[in-house]
C-alpha cells in the first residue's frame, strides 16, 4: 500500500533532484541559456552553430530545469507538449520549403528578403527552416528526457 502511494507520488513529480541551491541557480541560468541557444541558432549561418546545436542547448536548459524542479514543472514551463514542438518544427521546415513553390521556384529554394538587418544580416526561408530544426530538436530532446524522467 505504502509502496504504491510512494510510486504515485514519484510519478507525479517524476525523478528529480530537490535541491534549493540548484533550483535557484537554474532559475537564473535558464533565460541565459535560452538566449544563448537563440544566439547559436541565429549566428549559425555565419559562425559555428545552427539550429541543431542551438536546439540542443535550449533543450539542455529545460532539462536542467526539469532536473531541479521536476519534469512536471518542466512541462508546465514548455506550455505545450514536446510533441507539438516536433510537429511544429516539421511544419515550419516544410512550409519554408513550400513557400518558394508559390513564386515558381523549386522546393526548398532560399528566398531572401531585406538585407542589412542587424545581427542576422538578412532574412530568408533557410532561416525559418533552421528555426524549424531548432524547435524540432527541442521537442525531440525533451521527449527523450521527460519520458525517461517520468518513467518509474
Amino acid at each position: 500500500m505504502n509502496q504504491t502511494e510512494e510510486k504515485k507520488k514519484r510519478r507525479k513529480g517524476g525523478r528529480h533532484i530537490a535541491s534549493l541551491n540548484l533550483t535557484v541557480g537554474v532559475r537564473y541560468l535558464l533565460p541565459l541559456l535560452i538566449f544563448l541557444s537563440f544566439d547559436i541558432l541565429i549566428q549559425g549561418h555565419h559562425e559555428p552553430g545552427g539550429g541543431f546545436v542551438g536546439g540542443i542547448v535550449a533543450a539542455s536548459a529545460i532539462a536542467l530545469y526539469a532536473l531541479s524542479c521536476g519534469p512536471h514543472n518542466a512541462r508546465k514551463l514548455m506550455r505545450v507538449s514536446p510533441r507539438i514542438f516536433i510537429a511544429g518544427g516539421l511544419t515550419l521546415a516544410l512550409v519554408s520549403g513550400c513557400i518558394p513553390l508559390f513564386v515558381g521556384a523549386p522546393f526548398l529554394t532560399g528566398i531572401w528578403g531585406g538585407s542589412d538587418i542587424p545581427v542576422i544580416q538578412s532574412i530568408g526561408t533557410p532561416l525559418f527552416f533552421d528555426i524549424g530544426v531548432y524547435l524540432l530538436v527541442i521537442g525531440v530532446m525533451m521527449t527523450f528526457l521527460l519520458t525517461l524522467m517520468e518513467d518509474v
Binding site: H45, G50, G51, P126, F129, V133, F144
Partner: protein, 755 residues
C-alpha cells in the same frame, strides 16, 4: 464424414445436366471441323495477348488436337451428367463443378494451343484444377496427401516442360507449334536437342504417369469417381501422350527419341500390367490398367511408324470410352454398396441390370472382342510390334498387357455382377437414369465405332495419325483380316485372361504378389524418401541459418561480407596502399592512440561504467579530431551529442544487471578474428581510396557560392539549411520518429502495467 446427408437432392442432378450443355456446346462446335479436317485442312485461330513475350492466344485445330478436343468435350458432357447424380447431397459441390468446368476448359486449351507457352499455361492449370478435384473430400487425410502428391509430381514435371518449351521456342525461333513442325530438322540437329527432348519428356512422363512417376495416379483415386473417370482415364493423363504425339514431328524419328520414348512406354506398360493383377480395389485396378494403356501409347509413339501411330490413335479413342465407362460403373457400385474391393462384391446383376449391361459392354470392349473397336486396335498394335526391330520383346509385352486388360475387365465388369452375392447389409437399388446414361452411351459407342470402322478411320484416325506422323497416313480399318498370327495372339490373350480371372483370388495373388505390400523398393518409396530428404535439408538449413542467435547472424553477415568484398581485393597490390600523405603531429598521433585505447576499453572492459567511459573517450576523441582538422561545427555537435549520449546510457542502462554468462573462449577468438578481418578490409578500402588521384569535388561550388548566392558565411551550415536542406528535412524526420519510438517504448508499457 464426407457425406453429410443422403437426402434426395433433385437440384444437383439437374444442375449436372445444365452444365453439360457447356460441354456439348464445345462438342458440337468442334464437330463441325471433323469433315474439313478429314479432308486435310487445318485451322489456326489467333488472338493477340502478349506478343512481345511471345505468348499469344493461338489455337490450332488439326487431326490430333481435334480428336482430343472432341473426347474432352464429349466425355466431359457425360461426366457432368454423371457427377450431378454422384455428388447430390454432398457439401461444397458447387465449388466442385466450378473446378470441373475450369478443368475442362484448361484441358481444351491444352490440346488446342498452338503457342508452346500457352500450352504450358494450360498444362499448369490442369495440374492445379486436378489438385482441387482430387482433394475434394478434403477432410480425409488420404485425399489431401494424394492431391499434394499429384500436384508435386506433375508440378515438377511441368517446370521441366517449361524449360524445355522455352528452349524449343528459342532453338526453333518461334513458339508456334504449327510453325515448329516445319522446322523439325533444324531443331533435331541443334546442340540443345537432347536437353529439350529430355525436359519435354519428363513433363510428358509425369503427367501421363509413366514409370517411374506412375505412382501418383493410383493414389489420385482418392478423388470422387467422376474425377477419376474424367481426369485419370479419359483426359488429363493423356495430356502427356498428346504432348509426345504433338512434338513427334519436331523431335521424333531420332534414335534418342525412339529409345527413350519406346523404352519408357514399354517399362511402364509391363510394370502396370503386373500391378493390375495383384490389386483388388476396383479403382486401383482401373488406375493401373490406365497406366498400362498410357505406357502402350507412349511405346507406340516412340516406335513412330505409320501403323504404330494409327494403332495408337485407335486404341486411345477406344480406351477413353471403355475406361471412362468402367470408372463410372465402379463409381456406381461404390456409391450404392460402399465397397470398392473386387473380392467383396457380387450378384449385382439382378439388382441393377441396366448398369450390368453397360458393364458387360465395357468389359467386352476392354477385352478386345469383335466387333468392338478395341479389337481392331489390338490387331493393329500387334501388327506394329511384329513389324518393329525388337518384335519378339515388344509383342510379348503387348500380349502380357492384353492379358492383364482382360483380367481387369472381368474384375470390374463381371465379378461384381455375376459372382455370388455377399451380404451387403443394406438395401441396394438400381441407379437413376442420369447415373447410368453416361456409361451406357460410352459402352454402346464402342460397338458403334467398331461396326462403322470405315468412317472412324477416315474421320478420326487418319487425320490424327497424319498429324503425328507429319505426313499423310492412309487408314483402312476392317474387322476381319483373315486368320493370321495377330488374330491368334488376340484370341490367346482373351482366353488366358479369362483363365487367370478364374484363378484370381487370394492364393493366386499371394503366389505372384510380391510387389503390393513390399513397396519399399518402388518409386513411391523413392519419392517419399526424396521428399523426406528435402524436408530434412529444409530443417537443417533452418537450424543452421535461422537459429535465432544474433551472434551467428552477424557472424554470417561478416563472413559473407568478407567473402564478397574481399574477392576483388585479392588482386590488390598491398604496397600501393602505403604511400604519401602528411604525417601527423605529436598530439594528433596521441589523440589517435587515445581513441584506440578508448575502443579497447569499450570492447574489453568487464564493467559497464568503464565501458561507457571508454565510449565517452571515443566520442570526445572524435570531437577533438574534428576540431583539429577544421571542423568546428562537427566538433560542437559531436561534443553536445556525446554528452547527451553518455547521460542517456547511464540513465537508462545501468540498472540492467551485468551479464555473467560469457561466450566460450573459442567463440570469442573466432569472433575476434572475423571482426579484425572486416576491420582490416575497411582499412584497406580507405587506404585504397585515399590513394586515388583527385577528381575535383563538388565541394568547391559551395565554397564559391555560399555567401554570394546563399547569404551565409558558415558553409557547412549553409549546406545543411540550403544547398542540401532536403537531407536535413529527412534527418529531422528521423529524429521525430526516434522520439515517437522512445515515447511509445516507454509509455505503451505503462499502459500494459495498468492493465
Amino acid at each position: 464424414m464426407a457425406i453429410k446427408s443422403m437426402k434426395p437432392d433433385r437440384t444437383t442432378p439437374l444442375f449436372g445436366w445444365l452444365l453439360s450443355l457447356i460441354a456439348w456446346g464445345f462438342f458440337f462446335w468442334l464437330a463441325r471441323f471433323i469433315r474439313p479436317v478429314a479432308s486435310g485442312k487445318t485451322f489456326l485461330f489467333s488472338f493477340s495477348w502478349a506478343p512481345s513475350i511471345g505468348v499469344d492466344l493461338s489455337f490450332y485445330i488439326d487431326g490430333l488436337s481435334l480428336i482430343f478436343a472432341l473426347l474432352i468435350s464429349g466425355i466431359g458432357g457425360l461426366i457432368f451428367i454423371y457427377a450431378g447424380s454422384y455428388l447430390s447431397g454432398k457439401p461444397l459441390r458447387g465449388r466442385f463443378f466450378l473446378f470441373l468446368i475450369a478443368f475442362m476448359l484448361s484441358m481444351l486449351g491444352l490440346v488446342m494451343a498452338d503457342n508452346l507457352i500457352l500450352l504450358f499455361g494450360f498444362w499448369e492449370l490442369t495440374s492445379i484444377t486436378s489438385f482441387f478435384l482430387i482433394g475434394f473430400d478434403h477432410e480425409k487425410e488420404e485425399s489431401r496427401s494424394s492431391a499434394m502428391q499429384a500436384l508435386i509430381v506433375t508440378g515438377a514435371g511441368g517446370l521441366c516442360l517449361l524449360a524445355g518449351a522455352i528452349l524449343l521456342a528459342m532453338v526453333g525461333g518461334t513458339p508456334s507449334l504449327s510453325e515448329l513442325m516445319t522446322r523439325g530438322e533444324m531443331v533435331r540437329s541443334h546442340g540443345l536437342y537432347l536437353p529439350i527432348l529430355i525436359l519435354i519428356l519428363i513433363g510428358a512422363a509425369t503427367k501421363s504417369a509413366q514409370f517411374p512417376f506412375h505412382f501418383w495416379l493410383p493414389n489420385a483415386m482418392a478423388a470422387p469417381t467422376p474425377v477419376s473417370a474424367y481426369l485419370h482415364s479419359a483426359t488429363m493423363v493423356k495430356a502427356g501422350v498428346y504432348l509426345a504425339a504433338r512434338v513427334n514431328p519436331i523431335l521424333g524419328t531420332t534414335p534418342q527419341w525412339e529409345y527413350l520414348v519406346t523404352g519408357m512406354g514399354f517399362v511402364t506398360m509391363i510394370i502396370a500390367a503386373y500391378l493390375v493383377l495383384i490389386s483388388s480395389d476396383l479403382k486401383r485396378i482401373l488406375a493401373y490398367s490406365t497406366v498400362a494403356a498410357l505406357g502402350l501409347f507412349m511405346m507406340l509413339i516412340g516406335m513412330g511408324t505409320a501403323v504404330a501411330l494409327k494403332a495408337m490413335i485407335l486404341y486411345l479413342m477406344a480406351h477413353a470410352f471403355y475406361k471412362a465407362a468402367l470408372f463410372m460403373i465402379a463409381g456406381i457400385i461404390y456409391h450404392e454398396t460402399g465397397i470398392r474391393d473386387a473380392q467383396g462384391l457380387g450378384g449385382l446383376w439382378r439388382i441393377m441390370p441396366i448398369t450390368g449391361i453397360a458393364a458387360l459392354l465395357a468389359l467386352l470392349s476392354k477385352s478386345g472382342i469383335p466387333p468392338f473397336v478395341t479389337f481392331i486396335g489390338k490387331e493393329m498394335v500387334f501388327e506394329a510390334t511384329l513389324d518393329s526391330a525388337l518384335s519378339l520383346l515388344l509383342t510379348a509385352g503387348v500380349f502380357f498387357v492384353s492379358v492383364s486388360f482382360v483380367v481387369a475387365a472381368f474384375l470390374v465388369g463381371f465379378g461384381p455382377f455375376f459372382k455370388k452375392m455377399p451380404d451387403y447389409g443394406k438395401k441396394i437399388h438400381e441407379v437413376s437414369f442420369s447415373f447410368w446414361i453416361g456409361p451406357m452411351v460410352l459402352s454402346v459407342l464402342g460397338i458403334f465405332w467398331g461396326i462403322f470402322n470405315d468412317r472412324t478411320g477416315r474421320w478420326f484416325v487418319s487425320p490424327a495419325a497424319s498429324a503425328i506422323f507429319g505426313d499423310e497416313v492412309n487408314v483402312h480399318l476392317a474387322l476381319w483380316h483373315g486368320v493370321d498370327i495377330k488374330l491368334l495372339l488376340s484370341g490367346a490373350a482373351i482366353l488366358l485372361g479369362i483363365l487367370l480371372y478364374a484363378l484370381w483370388g487370394r492364393p493366386f495373388r499371394r503366389m505372384i504378389g510380391w510387389g503390393e505390400d513390399r513397396r519399399w523398393f518402388g518409386p513411391e518409396w523413392g519419392y517419399g524418401m526424396l521428399l523426406d530428404f528435402i524436408r530434412m535439408l529444409s530443417r537443417w538449413g533452418g537450424r543452421i541459418l535461422q537459429n535465432g542467435l544474433l551472434h551467428y547472424y552477424i557472424l554470417f553477415v561478416i563472413i559473407g561480407a568478407i567473402g564478397i568484398i574481399g574477392l576483388p581485393l585479392l588482386e590488390l597490390n598491398i604496397k600501393s596502399l602505403f604511400l604519401k600523405g602528411q604525417s601527423g603531429t605529436f598530439y594528433e598521433i596521441g589523440l589517435v592512440i587515445i581513441l584506440l585505447a578508448g575502443i579497447l576499453q569499450v570492447v574489453f572492459s568487464g564493467s559497464r561504467i568503464i565501458s561507457i567511459v571508454g565510449l565517452g573517450v571515443v566520442g570526445y576523441g572524435m570531437a577533438l579530431l574534428f576540431l583539429l582538422f577544421s571542423a568546428p561545427d562537427l566538433a560542437m555537435t559531436q561534443f553536445a551529442i556525446e554528452t547527451l549520449s553518455v547521460i542517456l546510457l547511464v540513465l537508462v542502462i545501468l540498472h540492467i544487471p551485468r551479464l555473467t554468462h560469457h561466450s566460450s573462449r573459442l567463440s570469442r577468438r573466432v569472433d575476434a578474428f572475423f571482426a579484425l578481418s572486416i576491420g582490416a578490409l575497411i582499412t584497406i578500402l580507405v587506404l585504397m581510396t585515399a590513394g586515388l588521384p583527385e577528381m575535383g569535388s563538388v565541394g568547391s561550388y559551395f565554397a564559391e557560392n555560399s555567401y554570394i548566392k546563399a547569404h551565409g558565411r558558415n558553409v557547412v551550415n549553409v549546406i545543411l539549411v540550403d544547398f542540401r536542406s532536403f537531407d536535413t528535412l529527412g534527418e529531422i524526420t528521423v529524429l521525430s520518429v526516434a522520439a515517437m519510438g522512445v515515447y511509445s517504448l516507454l509509455r505503451l508499457r505503462q499502459e500494459e502495467k495498468k492493465r
